[in-house]
């Protein structure tokens, strides 16, 4: 997998400290390093991206090679230290991997980290494949050390989660960490230092733009009066459509920010038309237009800005092939059959959609249902957050009214309570998100006397990204035992006095706890506890079954809970034995006690 290649590539490059916060599609890089690390590599799931970047900054100032991993929206959280760190610089190579997600497939935004690099004045490396990523991460470390500044490494989902055959190479020998030196105030940012370093940064970027023209990751080939420029995984789609050689057109592949101006100008010289194929923002396209303008090259540049390529969503091999066919042979567009066969022509009937759902046995289902029942008949607004529990928005639970970004549910509920004072303002937050950015929002609520009910959904893991540790788990990524931080104690010490803790699978107790919270005022919290079903599986419980003599087919269990193990045969409820974990939530809904099992073994 691409992320494994990046992790192994970082080890090869001599990474000493690797940190991050999980986020699709980035999470497996750190897990790979944790699984493979030899002596001396330190790995850490930090509580959030900002913390990870700052821990990394300290280590890199003292000369260690540091990798910090996150998804693209995690970079927003880490952007404060990163922007300033570029002005201070680093001694050890520091690579900040921010994985972008065209589509988006598992994200809130389609932001482009290359663009972020331009804004933050950072170099960016943009691999097109797992094998290139394996090599390029070492280049990124070397570049960072050479310029003395952090660099960004930006793979996309189809690089992170695709796989390829990668030849392992011998480990590189980076310089020994020099240790920390005060160096006459070099590490203390002041306006005067920032101004001086800004000049250095701009000079360095111009120098890099020139050096990147001969960087092996930036490639030009082929001949003709038409050109195709691309980068990232789209480059592979271009190669698949055009072949390696580019006998019909000139081809340019760009994998760096800053843009390699000399190579770009060479590419544009003598071309009539260029089609730019890239995902997310038109970064390469803008650079080529700028270059043509600066150098007075007369060439028509087409892409996202000209409406020739779609602005949103990921590219596909077929989409790229069609765009290239249309570009190279515009007059016969449509007349040329694409290579291979067309998809079956028979119009496929609409199939039922299958959106992701909370797993069978998920403790969040019980928590959502308890809140729904307790708040029934009351005006209520349900603010959600980022994690598996975002899936609480799906029918039949239908329990999310807002979801913005990590930690925002708690704070947005406060704003909503100002606008809707007669509503119950609930905020759902998971345990990992609570530690990530949830706590300051609760402090804000207590400090300013807001009227909200916080529902903490504590499943003892970072579930959506595959079960990573966090401060409430009691174990670090190094495998060391850690103090198990109690969310109850944290809330209590902040001053949340109306505070209850219940089992998410105990519907009666959960409803009672929410009802009491509804009756109170101020900041109230209910912590719903229950282990993640994906991690605990069927440990210790028998699955549930329907006694068909007792079930009279009201289908309340099926209609109210939306558990994927439950279905309706037309006469009776049915429970899929293979997926049922025996959590027993459906038992508490059944008026005829037709659901049996779910007992502890």
């Amino acid at each position: 997998m691409g992320n494994e290649a990046i992790g192994l590539g970082a080890i090869r490059a001599g990474v000493r400290v690797a940190l991050g916060y999980p986020g699709t599609p980035s999470s497996e890089v750190l897990e790979t390093i944790a699984g493979e690390r030899g002596g001396g590599v330190y790995v850490e799931w930090s509580v959030n991206e900002k913390s990870a970047l700052e821990v990394g900054a300290g280590a890199a100032m003292a000369g260690k090679r540091v990798l910090v991993t996150m998804k693209q929206v995690g970079l927003n959280v880490a952007s404060d230290p990163l922007m300033s760190l570029n002005y201070l610089g680093v001694k050890g190579g520091m690579v900040v991997m921010a994985a972008d997600d065209p589509g988006p497939i598992s994200s809130q935004t389609e932001q482009d980290t290359r663009h972020f690099g331009q804004y933050a004045k950072l170099a960016v490396f943009d691999p097109s494949s797992p094998e290139e990523a394996y090599l390029m991460i070492a280049d990124a470390f070397e570049c960072s050390e050479a310029i003395g500044r952090p660099v960004l490494f930006r793979p996309t989902t189809r690089v992170c989660h695709s796989y390829a055959s990668v030849e392992p190479l011998d480990a590189l020998a980076p310089p020994e960490p020099a240790g920390f030196g005060r160096e006459g105030g070099r590490w203390v940012i002041f306006p005067r230092l920032a101004r001086a370093n800004h000049v250095e940064i701009e000079r360095g970027l111009l120098d890099l733009a020139d050096r990147f023209s001969s960087y092996p990751g930036n490639v030009m080939r082929g001949a003709g009066r038409r050109g195709i420029a691309s980068g990232g995984v789209s480059w592979l789609y271009v190669l698949e459509a055009c072949g390696e050689t580019g006998d019909e057109c000139r081809m340019l592949k760009i994998s760096t920010v800053p843009f390699p101006a000399r190579l770009g100008a060479e590419f544009l010289q003598g071309l009539d038309e260029v089609l730019v194929i890239e995902e997310l923002d038109p970064v390469i396209e803008r650079e080529l237009i700028l270059l043509a303008g600066q150098r007075g090259i007369s060439v028509k540049i087409m892409g996202k800005l000209s409406g020739h390529m779609p602005y949103a969503g990921e590219n596909t091999p077929d989409g790229v092939r069609a765009a290239i066919e249309n570009f190279l042979r515009p007059r016969c567009a449509g007349a040329i059959p694409s290579k291979g066969e067309a998809p079956p022509s028979a119009a496929a009937p609409a199939l039922p959609v299958r959106p992701p759902v909370l797993c069978a046995g998920c403790p969040h289902r019980g928590a959502f249902f308890a809140v729904k029942e307790a708040a029934r008949g009351r005006k209520a607004i349900f603010s959600g957050d980022i994690g598996c529990y975002t899936l609480g928005n799906a029918l039949p639970l239908d329990m999310l009214d807002t979801c913005l970004c990590m930690g925002a549910g708690i704070t947005m509920a406060q704003g909503l309570s100002l606008a809707e004072p007669d509503a119950l303002n609930f905020a759902f937050i998971g345990d990992s998100t609570f530690f990530h950015t949830g706590i300051p929002g609760i402090i804000n609520a207590v400090f300013n006397g807001h009227d909200i009910i916080v529902a903490v959904l504590d499943n003892s893991t970072t579930a959506m990204t595959g079960g990573q540790t966090h401060p409430g788990v009691g174990r670090t990524l190094m495998g060391r035992p850690a103090p198990k931080m109690s969310i109850y104690d944290v809330l209590s010490s902040i001053g949340v006095n109306d505070l209850r803790r219940v089992s998410a699978f105990d519907l009666a107790a959960s409803k009672a706890a929410v009802t009491r919270a509804i009756e109170a005022r101020g900041v109230r919290a209910v912590i719903f506890e229950g282990p993640c079903a994906a991690l605990s599986k069927k440990e210790g419980r028998s699955g549930c079954m329907v006694d068909e003599h007792l079930c009279f087919g009201c289908s309340a269990c099926v209609k109210k809970l939306g558990c994927p193990a439950l279905s309706f045969s037309g006469k009776f409820a049915r429970i899929d034995r293979d997926s049922c974990t025996g959590c027993g939530l459906c038992k508490s809904l059944c008026s005829t006690r037709a659901i049996i099992g779910g007992d502890e073994r």
């Binding site: 189809r158 989660h161 695709s162 796989y163 299958r354 759902v357 029918l395």
Partner: protein
């Protein structure tokens, strides 16, 4: 070049299945490139694993209408993935039904699949579950496709990969499932199973 698409519901094990197939192809000295659905869709959504085996592969994604073989671990997902199949491509599916919230009629879905996929083998998941356990369903489907010559490796190659991947119990269960898949492919009630050849072959 062999393009294999695996379709299922998040949690069914498409990623492990693609790893088994990739490993067998790699062991044969072929290049492998592919892509997985990882993230939110793994929570019970529709998932696809792309596995491309051969030489000089560029894209990790298989385009619609180009897969040589589609393996489907769920009936509705089989229908959803059928557009990826080449006209003469092979689909090995199963009759396992995992109802999405909106629900569907399994008989109608099966009829739709039979009408649109000429080379289609649907295995009975109940029988496989009873014989080897439902967790080995995917391996039985791989075994059936293998027996139909869908892959650039043999059932024996796959057995070696299974031995490497699983502990003794897991290996026994998956080997049994692999061979059961082979048997089911030979006894298949589709045209190829009855010894007829498809018109385009």
């Amino acid at each position: 070049m062999t393009d294999c698409l695996i379709a299922g519901v998040g949690g069914q094990g498409t990623v492990l299945a693609s790893r088994l197939i990739s490993s067998a192809a790699l062991a044969r000295g072929l290049d492998v490139r592919g892509a997985e659905t990882i993230g939110m869709a793994q929570r019970g959504g529709s998932v696809l694993s792309h596995v491309r085996m051969g030489r000089d592969i560029k894209s990790p994604l298989i385009s619609p209408g180009r897969a040589d073989v589609v393996l489907a671990f769920e009936l509705c997902e089989a229908a959803r993935a059928s557009g990826y199949l080449k006209r003469d491509g092979l689909m090995v599916a199963c009759d396992r039904v995992i109802q999405p919230a909106s629900g569907y009629d399994p008989d109608a879905m099966r009829a739709l699949l039979e009408a649109s996929v000429p080379r289609l083998l649907i295995l009975k998941s109940g029988a496989i579950g009873a014989a080897c356990g439902i967790r080995a369903l995917n391996t039985a489907i791989i075994g059936a496709a293998c027996a139909r010559g869908a892959f650039p490796f043999s059932i024996g190659d796959m057995e070696k990969i299974i031995d490497e991947r699983f502990d003794a119990d897991g290996s026994r269960m998956n080997r049994a499932a692999l061979r059961l898949g082979e048997t089911l492919a030979a006894a298949g009630e589709d045209r190829e199973g009855r010894g007829e050849r498809h018109g385009d072959d």
